[in-house]
Structures are given as structure tokens and as C-alpha cells.
Amino acid sequence: MEQMAKPLTKNIRPDRAFATLADYESTGGYEGLRKAITQLQPKDVQQWVKDAGLRGRGGAGFSTGLKWSLVPMDAESFQTRYLVVNADEMEPGTFKDRLLLERDPHQLLEGIIIAAYAIQAHVAYIFLRGEYHLAALRLENALLEAGSKGYLGKNILDSGFNLEIILHTSAGRYICGEETALLNALEGKRANPRAKPPFPLVSGLWGKPTVINNVETLCNVPHILHYGIEWYRSLALGADQGTKLFGASGRVKNPGLWELPMGTPIREIIEEYAGGMRDGYKLRGFLPGGASTDFMLPEHLDVVMDFDAIAKAGSRMGTGTLIILDDLTCPVQMVLNLEEFFAQESCGWCTPCRDGLPWTVTLLKDIIAGQGRMEDLDALSGLTRMLGPGNTFCALAPGAMEPLQSALKYFREDFERYITGNNAVMESV
């Protein structure tokens, strides 16, 4: 059944309208919640989600059920726990959460309520990107609807469980998507990330145990509860479980977003769903999951969209939205565009990121302007090492280095052509 194969998007209609509460309920909406809250203990819900094999859709792919199970549930000093929804989606090339937020808000709400129940949080915040005005409207509306039907608020479905969901809209900074920076933003502070450990699970929002989950992650939860672990584990094709929103943007015939089984081959996404390259363009490479993932090449088309498979091919699944590089777009200029983004979005806390990214931009600009030197390429590779994982305070800068390091590896001749002056005129973009 189509519906069962595409649980996340089954209510999303092509006409851009959104699913009302009635629409949502008519396809089994809030049944997962009913089951969880009336039949299962919080610990059981955690176990279900763990057993289903759901991994975080925010980029890092951490087991969601495991994350929940690490929250201190009994410690007396922590009466308060929080659930925070990461709806900050700001990674260039990523456009998956907006769809879920705008078109089926109840699916997210149901996921939130179940998750909150699982960790016994009584307040949940949706940290929504400030630019997502339509999503904000629809969420507000959905919150009212859910409240009036007893899915939210006090004594939810007569279970004795209470939950308040608060919609918080941000004011624009990519770093707010980093979970600990997000907490600072939510507390009304500058969104510098926090040191880990302590992890938010132990000391998060206002120092209280806090779970942070991505929108898409939580949207999976109601279906796991409603249809069961076995069903969920039957959805995927490869090593990971469930379905995922995959997308493609750039010069493909049919850019878009599709819910597909985990483990779908990249070739299928680009060639079938996205319709292949536009006439007159050839595929040069792609970023598999947003701006902060390593380039992959046409030779990688048969890699499947699984966390580990993509890691093995030298990149990351990230957000699962492909950015396509065609043969007439200059990879050096594309990397410059990405690095300008990262340099601008650096929070300014740690040295390598704050000062290394602008230097990266300067070097790339010099190179493109014909003022580069061969040793600049060494400087760039040096920076990719220096700003690598573990060396900076958070994962922003290492993410920023992924497209650069792979571009230096795969498209080195494009960099060198600028420096040696043998640059055939590229299509100006």
C-alpha cells in the first residue's frame, strides 16, 4: 500500500494544502500516541524506538531510542526535563523539514508528544527557523487544534500526562541548528555552542536534562508506535531502518523531494526521481546531504543512501538532500559560495573557525581572481586539516571543510587552472 510505504508524506498532497487535524486523524493520526500513552510505559516507548532502529535525521544519525534512554529519569534533583525540537533547518541545499512542518504539522506534534512522554518532559519547545513564517502559522494552528481535542495540555487522553508545547521562532543563524548553540539561543543568549560533556541529556536547557531531536526524526515516531517495530524495520532496503526524505537540487530536470526507503541507491534518486541532468549539462559531482558533506563523483552513483555506506564512500549522509554539481558550474566558485556561507555563520567563539574560515574565503577569492599561488593550495589543505573534527569547538567548521577537502581532491585541476592562468572560460554563474 502506497500509504504504508510512505508514512511521512502520506498526508502531503500535491496541491500545497496542508493536512488539518481531521485529515491527519483520518489516516490513523494520533493512534500511535494513544497506544503509547495508554498502553506503554515511558521506558517501553524508548525501547520501541530503539528497537525500530530509528537514527537521527538531523545529520549525525545517532540512535533516537538510545538517546532517550540516556536521560536521567529517576534522579531526584531533576524534576524538570525538556524536549526540544530542532526545526532550524538552515543548511544550504536542505529543504526537507520545511515540507513536514508546513504540510503535516500534526505528524510532528504527535511525534513530540510521544517523545515527551517517553522522557517524561512536560514542556517541549519547537525551535523554528525565523524565516519559516508559513510553518509558524500552521504550527500555531495545529497546536490549538490538538489542544482542543485533548492531545495536548493537561491530562492528555485521560492518561494523567501533561505537556505544553511552545513554539519559539529564531532570528536567523545557522549555528542555532547545532544542538547546544540552540539551547543558548533558546535561553535568549548568544548562540555559541556549549562544551560537551556535559551533554544536554544531563545538563541542557537551563541546566536540566534535555533531549533535542530533528523534525524528521520525530515525524517517524508516531508511525513506529502505530504500526509497530516489525513494520518499520521492513520499510528500508539496506542497513538502516525506515524511510527518509531525499531530495535533489541543482541542474536536474526535476528537482524535488521524495520519501524513499533508507538504502535507496543514489543513482535512482538522481536519474529516476530527479529525472537526470538537464539537457546540455553533465553530472560532475554532488554533495549527498547538504552543504557540509564531502563531494561525491559520478562513480559513486551506485552507493546507497545509508549512513555507513556513504561514510565508506568518503562522505556523509547529512540531511539526505543532494546538491548537484554540473559540468558547467565551476567547483571552485561553488566551494567559495559554500565557504562564504560558513565563514559568515561562524559564531566567533573558537579561533580556527572564526579566523580560519575567512582566510579560506580570501584564499579562494584570490585564486579565482587570478592572484593565487600554488602554495595557497597547500594553505587550503592545511586549513582543511586544521579545522577538522575535534580541533574546533563544534562541528560547524569541520562540516565547512568537507566540501573543500573533497573539492581539492577531486577537482584539483580546476584550482590549478586559475593559478596557472590556463583557465578556459567557464560559464559565468
Binding site: D97, E131, G188, A248, I323, T329
Partner: protein, 163 residues
Amino acid sequence: MNIHTEKPDFEGLSPAEIQEINAEFSHYEDKTAVSIEALKIVQKHRGWVSDECLVAVAGLLDISTAQLEGVATFYNLIYRQPVGKTVIHYCNSVTCWMLGAEQVRERLCRHLNVELGEMSADGEYTILPIVCLGACDHAPVVMVGNELRQDISDDAVNEILRR
């Protein structure tokens, strides 16, 4: 020995603004958390956050002006300078860049005869870049006020500015 003035510090905000900000307090463990929302409320009413308003909001939130300014200057969508009635944000991130964001920007700026960040002579518009608006499958995109506009062609730019 503190010199206490009789006037409340948050004088200068409208009753509506104060009410909206006060209403936010119940959502958080402390007042500081309302910082960003409060600035956005002021901005909703006035288009931008003047120094006077910043001081007033800080007073209402019981934090120092400097602390609030530290927050205000961190975030992208808080304007500490006047902007046009409608802010047009054009996405300059990777996919839009690939598919013509620069042309969109040029056309917008030329049309209004402004540089980025400037207010058009009639005070109607300000053009600003913005990072990926999450609609890459419809690049290039712009946000006109609060409204997302996708697949922006030359005609679409003209249509936006004609309104």
C-alpha cells in the same frame, strides 16, 4: 547607594509591545529567554530596533542594555538600522547561487536603485541577502516580507516590485 529614577526604564515602548512581551514571559524559566522574541516584537511594530527601544526592552527584561545588544548583534534577522517597509531577502546560498541568485540581486537592486542593505528612496524596500531558504528545488527563491517566492524569473522580479 543606587540612584533610582522614578521613571520605569522601558518607557518608549508602546503598551501593545509591552503587553506582547510580557505575555512571552510565562513560556520560559527566566526573562532573559524572551530577549530575541522581544526584539522581534518591537521589530514587528516598528520595522527595526532603535537604540531607545533596545534600552527599553532591556529594562523590561531586567538585563543590561549591553547584554541585549550582544544578543541583537548576533542574530541575522534583528535590524539595528532602519529598513524599508518590505524587506526583500534573496537567497544567495549554493543552489540559488548556481541557478541565478546574482541576477536576481542585480535586477532587484537596479530596479530600486539601491545597494544591498539600503532603503529605497520611497522607503518601501530594502534588499538583503539571506542564507538558504529551504526551497532549493525551486531555486532561485526570494522572501518578500514574510512570503516565500519560488522559481524567480526576471518577470517574477518585476511582478514583485510592481505591487
